[in-house]
Symmetry: C2
Subunit: 214 residues, 2 copies
DNA sequence: GAGTGTGAAAACATTCACAGCT
DNA sequence: AGCTGTGAATGTTTTCACACTC
């Protein structure tokens, strides 16, 4: 019988943060306490312990957590060891930034394709990959079993690109275009809207006393 | 006596979303119901009503919300009418993407300066602005009363740029570098880490049944 | 002594369901 | 009839506090 553990969404959102904290800790540190981790991540230490307890019994009472075991478990739980393939659609400044973004390779994602329908960009090289026209998308997805589509096009193309990606069998989409994509069953869509982040900051600019979320 | 209304952080995070929904609604629509708005924003309709009720009594029973009143109130509440000035530090692909990002101007932010310490970039033009060296930052901040600093440098420079911005009197920072910045009293810091977003997606890739947060 | 893992409490957020206005 | 605004119910997240282990 398969064991099913449900991790609360609020916790899932913090797991990548903990992973990042481990990179920022002393290179030669072998163990770390919830107190120390909490300090780096800027959260409560009970929170850290509760979050990590969802992954199993990882720590040792009276001692703390072993850094490398912890890292492995976080990566395992987040599915970062499966080597998911991703494509980026839209190779403007943002798409290029994403293609160059080293963080992805280290973190277990491989960008296997760049797509754009601007003829000036097609066949040019960005971050070691050749930009292809969207008509090649289907082939790529089949060949590399692409799991994740990253949309970095202007807003007006985002929905049709999303439709196309889903049509190619992509089940997870990270959208950077400032539009609301339609929901499709069984497809996970996350949107990052740069201007929304600024707007939230703006709210708290007027109200320096209040504590923001996240 | 000044009226103090405290808007829950979870609601603040949705206000920019509602604003975006209004842009996506029929241009000639004069009124909108919580039900319709909820559908576009993909949230529960009671949620919409509760959220908007924090801004005052904006709707009309039996009728709905007036689109333009609603937009005005949202902008007012988010502080988007104050015309905050922002600077971008780091003019690589990501910084350029941000500089070109039209959303900001429309949404009440003015990018008044671009800064980079790469001599190849200094004095070049990006999105109609001349890239300046970091040594000019203090002057700019005084001259334009800069409220927001956007960090788009590689990780290794992010903390020192943040220190410098804070030193120049900037009280709000939006950080795109994949590092955890130190907290400073009275300074709001929001971080957007592109690879963290992908990692969250990755978790749900393995578990198509679960519902993600946000 | 130091630091985890976790019940129980407290705080926060969402949703229901309906009274009240147009 | 239609739709808001909001008490009350429910669900989720955070935090406290301490028994337990090393």
């Amino acid at each position: 019988m398969k064991e099913i553990k449900k991790i609360p969404p609020a916790t899932v959102k913090r797991l990548p943060l903990y992973l990042q904290c481990l990179d920022q800790v002393d290179q030669d540190a072998i163990g770390i306490s919830s107190k120390k981790l909490a300090e780096i991540a800027k959260v409560n230490d009970a929170q850290v312990r509760r979050d990590l307890s969802y992954l199993g019994t990882l720590g040792t009472r009276g001692v703390g957590y072993d850094v490398s075991t912890l890292r492995n478990q976080l990566q395992l739980e987040l599915g970062l060891v499966e080597g998911w393939s991703a494509v980026i659609v839209g190779v403007g400044n943002l798409g290029s930034a994403l293609a160059h973004y080293g963080g992805f390779k280290d973190k277990g994602f491989g960008v296997v394709g760049l797509f754009d329908d601007d003829s000036k960009k097609i066949n040019s090289q960005v971050a070691g990959l050749v930009v292809k026209p969207l008509s090649d998308l289907q082939d790529y997805c089949n060949k590399f079993n692409v799991a994740i589509g990253i949309i970095a096009t202007p807003g007006e193309f985002a929905q049709s690109v999303a439709d196309e990606l889903i049509n190619c069998g992509v089940r997870s989409i990270l959208n950077f275009a400032p539009v609301l994509l339609k929901n499709v069953k069984d497809v996970q869509i996350r949107s990052v809207d740069l201007s929304q982040e600024l707007q939230i900051l703006s709210y708290y600019l007027d109200r320096p006393i209040l504590k923001a979320v996240d």
